[in-house]
Symmetry: C2
Subunit: 186 residues, 2 copies
DNA sequence: CGTTAGTTTGAGAGGACTCAAAGTCTGTGG
DNA sequence: CCACAGACTTTGAGTCCTCTCAAACTAACG
C-alpha cells in the first residue's frame, strides 16, 4: 500500500493509526477521462494517488486552464474547497486510469485529534501547496516560455509523455502554438 | 489594542487568552525605512500591524522584487520562514513608522495547545495567504498591466498614496516605466 | 540649494498572442 | 484490419503589449 509507505516516511505510523486508516478510508478506481470533482461540488475528500495521473483545471474567459497535475505518490484535491469546505471552483479529472485513496474531511479532522502526529502531515501539505504556488508565480513573472518548458523538462520529463501538450501549455501559462514552437527549437 | 479587536472578530477571546497574549507578546516601534527581517535570518515572529505599512521583497536577477504589502490591521511575516522555521529568502521593511505586535513562534505553538480555538486563527491565516497568492497568479496570467493597476486602484487605492510607485510596479509585475504609462492613460 | 531617489517620456526590439489552415494521431465502427 | 471522424499538434503571418535603454524632469531631504 503506497499511501502507508509515504506516510511512514513522514511520521511514525503506529499500529493503531494504521488500523484506523484502513478502516476509515476507501480505495477507488477511476477510468481515464472521468471526473473526480466537478466545479460547484464541495471537495469532501483528500485523495492520495496510488497510481495514475490527474489534473485540476478551471475555466477562465470560457477557456479551460490547467493549474496543476498530480501523479502516483502525490496528493490531489481542490485545496481551497477542501480546507474551507466550500464549493469548488475547479474540476479534477483523471488523465489516466487511477487508483485513489479517499480521505474524507471528517476523518482527517478526527485523525488530527486522535493522532496528533498527523498534524504534521497537514502542515507539510499546506506548506507544499504554498511553495509550489509561489514557485509558479516566480516562474510566470520572470521566465519566458522556453525557460518554463525547459524547467518542466528537467523536473518532470515523464509528464510530457503522459499529458496532452494542450494541457501542459495551459499549465505553463502559454498557448499550445507557443509551446509547439518552443519544442521545435531543438 | 487593535490586535485584540481583530482577534475578537475571529474567535471568542477568553479573559485567560487575553491575559496570556498580553504577557507573551511584545509591542515594538519601528522607524520608516528600518528592516524588520533580513534575508538569511529566521523569521521568529508573526507580526500584527497596529499601525503603519510594511513590504516584503526579495532579489531576483539582482533586482528588488516587492511581493507583498501589509498595513494596519493585517499580519506580516515571511510566511514560509515562519511556518517552517528556516532562513528567510525575503526582506521585510517598514515603509512608514510602525507599531507591531510580535507573536513569537513558540508562543503561537503554545497558544494552539492551551487555547485550541486559536487554531482557527492559524488556519484562516494560511488560507488567506494561499488565496491571495492564487489570485495574484491568475491576475499575472490573464490580465494586462492596466487591468492589474485598475484592480489595485479599486481594492487598495490608499496604497498608491503610501508606497513609492517603483515598489508598486514591482508588486504588479511590471516595470516603473510601464506603470507610469498606464497611469498616464486618464 | 545641490544631490539623489523617484518618476516620466521616447524610441525601438522582441516575445507571445490571435486567427487561420494544414498536418498528424488515435480509437472506434464497419 | 482498415477507414474515417474528431481531437491534437504544428506551421505561418501579422499584431500588440511590455520590455530595455536612454534621457529629461521632479521632488524630497539634508
Amino acid at each position: 500500500m503506497i499511501f502507508l509507505d509515504y506516510l511512514a516516511s513522514v511520521i511514525k505510523v503506529s499500529p493503531q493509526l494504521k488500523a484506523q486508516l484502513q478502516e476509515l478510508t476507501d480505495t477507488i478506481e477511476i477510468a481515464k477521462g472521468d471526473s473526480i470533482l466537478r466545479i460547484g461540488e464541495r471537495c469532501n475528500d483528500l485523495y492520495f494517488i496510488n497510481s495514475g495521473l490527474v489534473r485540476g483545471y478551471y475555466y477562465y474567459d470560457g477557456k479551460e486552464v490547467t493549474h496543476w497535475f498530480a501523479r502516483e505518490g502525490e496528493f490531489a484535491s481542490c485545496f481551497f474547497s477542501f480546507i474551507s469546505q466550500v464549493a469548488s471552483v475547479e474540476h479534477i479529472e483523471a488523465l489516466e486510469p487511477c487508483e485513489l485513496i479517499c480521505i474524507p474531511y471528517a476523518v482527517l479532522q478526527k485523525l488530527y485529534i486522535d493522532f496528533p502526529e498527523t498534524e504534521r502531515l497537514g502542515r507539510l501539505l499546506t506548506e507544499a501547496y504554498y511553495i509550489k504556488l509561489e514557485n509558479r508565480l516566480l516562474a510566470l513573472k520572470f521566465t519566458d516560455a522556453k525557460a518554463r518548458y525547459d524547467n518542466l523538462l528537467t523536473t518532470n520529463p515523464a509528464l510530457l509523455q503522459r499529458a496532452p501538450l494542450g494541457h501542459i501549455a495551459s499549465y505553463l501559462g502559454i498557448t499550445p502554438e507557443t509551446l509547439s514552437r518552443v519544442r521545435g527549437k531543438y
